[in-house]
Symmetry: C3
Subunit: 374 residues, 3 copies
């Protein structure tokens, strides 16, 4: 890789979207299954280590565990087991240079660190982001169709009090084709009734996902949306951020930020939304570590038309401590390569370069999430 520009190497980062780290020791199959968005290792393919993220792990993570770059997988996993889950987590999280982690604790919480445990391992601050659907699923069976909206609103307000943001996973359940208007109370009641009749399990109802988002916006907290790239549970063609256009148009005057997460391979579409809508922000989490040494190419595409004041950093790391480090290191690489190309072309002054990197690295997140008020 090209050397990092010094002001990018030392840039304090806010990771505005990630998850907890697994507390158990993980074996090869477990590790490999958590490495990418594949659910399992394919008997038809070869190892998932045979991928850019696998190569990036051996290149950039091995030295953090005291091994040479490109160490073989077996050596790597043996060394990892020797150090133990806690020490591994500590090393990788502290190698990131991240000052604040924003954790979505809504997926498989039982196998991951809590926010407090995470902060302790990382030796820095960690903040909570509340998953809207998790709150709705927690209240639905204790309420009625008519009572759902109030019950959800109350519970969300309670949980949000200690949180810095909210998150919608509508993309995973119904896609992003959410209508451009707030559902009426009658619509919400009818939808809650349908949900209850079907057993009140996993939420997947366009009206209710939309209702959750509007209720969240009422609280004035930034709302994150899963967009684009994810595991096989997602219908990716329903996760183009442009499908949110109507909802974005309907919410642009509220002064509440909406954050489009991941976005790949629709990151140029997301960047467009960040340019034209006042309240839209974007990142390139998840793809940054998955694309390995190609991460800079993807980040450069995101930055074509997204204003620097609208781009944030996140890893979307989940479970494996390596992913926080990889996501961060590859983001720094991408940002540095981008800025270096601009500087080499004399398309940017160094004063501007330093300022714009600070925006993307941490200032935008600090301005939006305001954790000092929590």
């Amino acid at each position: 890789m090209t050397d990092l520009l010094p002001f990018v190497a030392e840039l304090p980062l806010v990771d505005h979207h990630c998850h907890g780290v697994v507390t158990r020791d993980v074996g090869r199959a477990d590790f490999e299954a958590m490495l990418t968005e594949a659910d399992t290792i394919s008997p038809l393919g070869t190892s998932l280590f045979d991928s850019l993220i696998g190569l990036a792990g051996r290149e950039r993570c091995a030295p953090v565990l005291g091994l040479p770059r490109h160490a073989p997988v077996e050596d790597y996993l043996a060394r990892r087991a020797e150090l133990g889950a806690d020490e591994v987590a500590r090393r990788f999280l502290r190698a990131t240079g991240t000052t604040d982690f924003l954790l979505d604790g809504g997926f498989l919480p039982e196998s991951l660190t809590t926010t407090a445990e995470f902060a302790r391992l990382a030796g820095t601050r960690a903040h909570d982001v509340v998953r809207l659907e998790q709150v709705a699923e927690a209240v639905i069976r204790g309420t009625t169709a008519r009572g759902f909206a109030a019950a959800f609103g109350d519970e969300l307000e309670k949980r949000a009090a200690a949180a810095v943001g909210l998150k919608s996973i509508a993309a995973y359940r119904v896609g992003l084709g959410l209508a451009g208007e707030r559902p009426s109370p009658a619509e919400v009641e009818a939808a809650a009734g349908r949900w209850l009749s079907s057993g009140g399990g996993r939420l997947a109802d366009e009206v209710l996902h939309r209702h959750l988002v509007f209720t969240g916006l009422d609280l004035g907290l930034p709302v994150q949306f899963h967009v684009g790239y994810g595991d096989s549970d997602v219908d990716l063609h329903r996760c183009d951020p442009l499908l949110l256009t109507g909802l974005l148009r309907a919410t642009r005057d509220r002064g509440v930020p909406i954050l489009l997460l991941h976005n790949y391979p629709f990151h140029r579409q997301a960047a467009y939304l960040a340019q034209v809508f006042e309240h839209v922000f974007v990142d390139a989490g998840l793809i940054t570590h998955n694309a390995g040494f190609r991460a800079p190419a993807v980040l450069a595409e995101l930055l074509e038309i997204a204003p620097f004041g609208k781009v944030l950093f996140s890893t979307d790391a989940f479970g494996l401590a390596e992913l926080y480090h990889l996501g961060t290191a590859l983001f720094r690489q991408g940002l540095s390569d981008f800025v270096r190309a601009a500087l080499d072309a004399d398309a940017m002054s160094e004063v501007d370069a330093v300022r714009l990197c600070a925006l993307v690295g941490h200032e935008n997140a600090q301005r939006i999430y305001r954790w000092e008020h929590v």
Copy 2:
């Protein structure tokens, strides 16, 4: 930036799609609002100057006003005010090396130069492109449902007599999912009736936009389509040029060119259409200046499968004189970088390089628009 190849630096250009320049002096807020496709400056974001186009402006426009590259925004705007709108326009338009500007005068004409004023400022030729929807909206209230088709046809023929091309903004009103057949007179009459009943305001009816296009093609004049990237008024997911496939198939035998404008982020899709349909041509206007130093990367993607005989140059500049200069300078940069990469790889001979740049820079436009006949 890399130096321009001499034959690209001196290439005469035809800007086959742009708009007038504002006649008033503009202040900071005004300038910033016209810089990108954002409607307003976001209180949640930072300045829109913090973007690749903002940086490109300070880099490449400042010297045209006698300031150093990367001059601060304040200095730039002060100098601009000092020179006055007319002198600023004159400098930037004349710095382009454009021999012919094709102006769509259909949007906000009251605040922009006329074609004649534009030509005077630029010191060169300017030609008219007639916006189909503007003509329809001008005649609808003076006619009946039954009379609309004839009234529109007559008025269009009159206005088209002095024009070199026509333009459809169906993308902005109903998207590009236009059906693949000419609407029948009865369908047009019914649609005109609906339009009249609803007050005859802004046209937004799939049947009528389609009728306008077919009527335009009857005149034998090239028809431009807004495609892809635009402001927040557009539903970008309805502006993929592939949605025009049926209409392109239905019109391919007429021998009348159809020009897909802008296209980002669907420029590869547009290039595909330009390869497989005899009458389809493409450009990368608007994104060229918005993407700043990334413009060459976007242009290279457009040129992957679009034949050189089917690619045109445009800026889509609107209002700010800087945009004509930026769009032109960044197009030259992109074309030069592309050709230089091919020459360095010995993938193109220099003889071919010179010839192909002439096609894209002006020959294709001259062959298609034929203004000597106007």
Copy 3:
């Protein structure tokens, strides 16, 4: 171009999807029409040689015929005619370094070499891939609505006995929006009835295309899908591989490979499917030669998230002997450039580089198609 890495230059290749070569001598118009996906030369454009593939042909094919690089088109065609179709085919096919060609003989078979003739010209092995729709169209008129499923099953089993894979061209007929479940016998019978009533011509029925695929999967043979880029007969917006998500989810547990061919400009979407679904494999055929010296840029995008164990090589060459050579040479260029960039960045060790190139070049295809069992 950059020099090829030695282990890529000498990499044995399996071309897992191509077609026969034309047996007749071809004149200029014929040659030009077969060069790209355009149906004809446009009187509005210029020569189709004015394209990256045209330039690549003059650059890389001329020397194979004993001419200097970038020889003019006239010289090239004259030399081609002088050598004759057979000698030209022999030279280009043997220049590829391909050990095994997998031929889809289902399109215009009367004008192309048979598989045996192809193997003789190429001096190596060639294997058959059976086009599902061709089999269905061969049996429909000799059967009844009720008898169709059995007649198709019997005929497919017979033809598949000597084949290494199957292919669906649903993309060309109804798009890739195939439902995610096997159609019932009653649905198949009803659809076959509709087809017979309409004359039993060209198959274009979502239920039947889907039935063909499931019947093919029952045989345990890999099933290829045309995806993305093709000629003007395709509705490209219906050929996004993500539209197959439901069908892929429904077939992932069968252990039978599904191969997404071509994919451009949806190659990142295809790569996503290859990462998350156990049985999905991808290539970048057709675009590799069409994009000329830009082929490496496209291939790099495909390799961002597709695991190396899931990427195959194909040319999708059809008719012109030049296309096998170009597709192969440009694939080698792309793979070499990609690996070289990774090696230069120390993002990959050389041991890994050699191993991963072997996977993509031939090992994945050998593991999937298992022609030693035919």
